[in-house]
Symmetry: C2
DNA sequence: GTCACGCGTGAGAGCGCTCTCCGGGTCGGC
DNA sequence: GCCGACCCGGAGAGCGCTCTCACGCGTGAC
């Protein structure tokens, strides 16, 4: 393969020579630091353009110890996770934010805990300045692993450990699952429903627990028979719905902990001859466009701004990574909980 | 934040000192090269373990000019793209393959062509050894850009340019869209359908064109009124279906160029009072689990092994990147077209 | 016993960049 | 008009690693 780009990439040295300045000055211009007189700046700029100079990141990292790269670690105990548009949207937000700050996104996918060791080594290896972690389960060791690697970390979703542990310095970004769930249930009450069931997500995930807690906040005395656990899949939602109908055929509303599960529930309701929303009102959670708007009928749901959450995660991490600007005045970064919003469509 | 990991990471020098050998020998052991006597190997290994030594990738890259990192570039003119599980699955395959070969995955998302310049700079900057490109549209400039940057590239999906250009050395991996489409239509014929319509994807994408070509291979004389263009969304499939029913209410089968569009078509068929498959048989394309299996009725479709395609892309690229092992005997890498498979469910 | 050969190891030169010093120039103050 | 302060720009020392090259020792052949 006769490589047309055989011309070795120009170095700072070459730029400096062409501009008639020293390497140091060229470096100053390239990095935009103050204290170089305008005419020189101009000459260096021109040399950079003419030569098509691009700084060698490896050399730079070697001396600055900064990578301008962030790892996004995805725990994927279940295959489903990465296929989930939820995650995709969040990554999009992260990517936008990182790009805006000239950081790269290194994606680390794990396939079961066997990969954790590899990820740990990678993080400890100082290849990245920080890590954004997505781990679904409360008992996941990934966050611990990152902390041990000494890498600043932000977690997507509230981690499972109790608040007293939070001064580990591990931050997270999550939406207000509990408040959203309360809104969903209150909406059902407001349209006159009285026998409200809940299809929960897997209860080893904090999001599921929080949504269930929100449900119970409003309906503390609910018959346990009105609560069934799904697994965030359509089929899980379907079988949970079937189970609920068996236990309480008189129910007149369902709050599902995700749109995807709600879509499964809708199918079962239709099959069982119930009309939605006339006989049974349904509220979902997530407002996943590809799901909520295209169910039949379109789903009333709780919206969370997933992309924004991603952006916030990145922003928070970059701030944690940044060399503490103020002299000792670390403004004590804290975790973020974003608001949710009720979106009323036809199903409730 | 009193950083507990204040201990500076050990260097090769430290390992060498502890093992009582030279830096060179330590390096040889770490990189697994031959010609170091067993006892020394053992001593170095132990020193590595005790010190928790992890090689500094930046320093290594600086001298070897290899990054052990691959960029995955996603052109995202439409928001839909990244949300598409199709892409997610492919990335999973890529990730697995890269991980297996100790390469990192750097994700580059572009938001409109404005970002192309940035991506070009990045690729030209030698931060990665190669690039995997996903660009939907035939006229997309991303592949050209990568070629100009002098970075080995593999494209996901057949690129739009004609075959005579292909000796640019730009490789691609695609599934046999045309053959799959032929299978779909032949299946419809085999179950006795005679008036077969096609919902095509956007015809500025090669996948759509190829599937349409496959359709025409089997039914060269089809009434143009039996072909409508969708946009790979459920709503696009729905309106195409509505249009087809208006033009040819007598149709008895539809081959949709994607499962997602087929799902939209199913809804319209139901609304219009047609039974599936009794009145109208429907075949999709992709076999996207979350869609095809959960439509009502479940969709007969053409399966493509998306994850495998991702894996193949990565493998092909790594081979292209590898220092040509054989003496001049470059085995002329070539693009790959993977087979498809008919999956019969209830809809046809 | 001597010489040639070869394998295994060490010394050292960078890879391209940043950043700390310093030196030299310029300007203001008295 | 001279001295000191200030500021801009250059020289040079590494960052941690790989890899070439040269050297030393052990082995086998004559």
């Amino acid at each position: 393969m006769s490589d047309p780009s055989f011309a070795p990439r120009p170095t700072l040295e070459a730029v400096a020579a062409r501009a008639g300045v020293s390497r140091a000055t060229a470096s100053r211009v390239v990095n935009g630091s103050e204290g170089v007189r305008a005419p020189l700046v101009e000459r260096v700029r021109q040399a950079v353009d003419e030569l098509g100079y691009v700084p060698n990141q490896a050399a730079r990292t070697l001396v600055t110890r900064r990578n301008d790269a962030i790892a996004v670690v995805v725990a994927e105990p279940e295959t489903r996770f990465f296929t989930d548009p939820f995650f995709a949207q969040q990554v999009r937000g992260i990517s936008k934010e990182l790009t805006a700050r000239d950081n790269q996104l290194v994606l680390l996918l794990t396939e079961g805990t066997a990969d954790y060791e590899r990820v740990g080594r990678y993080l400890a290896g100082g290849h990245v300045d920080g890590a954004l972690i997505f781990s679904l389960h409360t008992d996941d060791s990934l966050p611990t692993l990152a902390r041990r690697a000494g890498v600043p970390t932000v977690i997507g979703g509230r981690p499972g450990w109790t608040d007293s542990d939070s001064d580990h310095g591990t931050l997270y970004v999550d939406c207000d699952n509990r408040g959203g769930a309360r809104d969903a249930v209150r909406h059902l009450l407001s349209i006159g429903r009285r026998t409200i069931a809940h299809i929960a997500g897997p209860l080893d995930q904090t999001a599921s627990v929080d949504r269930l807690d929100g449900f119970r906040d409003v309906l503390p005395e609910t018959d346990p028979a009105l609560i069934a656990e799904g697994d965030f899949t359509p089929e899980g939602g379907a079988s949970a719905m079937a189970e609920l109908l068996r236990r309480r055929p008189d129910l007149d509303a369902v709050f599902a902990a995700s749109d995807v599960m709600a879509s499964g529930a809708l199918r079962v309701l239709r099959t069982s001859g119930r009309r939605v929303p006339e006989d049974v009102a349904v509220v979902g959670f997530d407002d996943m466009v590809s799901v909520a708007e295209w169910t039949d009928p379109p789903l009333t749901t709780i919206r969370q701004d997933i992309e924004e959450m991603g952006r916030l995660m990145a922003r928070l991490l970059l701030r944690a990574v940044a060399p503490s600007a103020g002299p000792q005045s670390v403004p004590a970064l804290s975790s973020i909980v974003t608001p949710t919003q009720l979106v009323v469509r036809a199903s409730a």
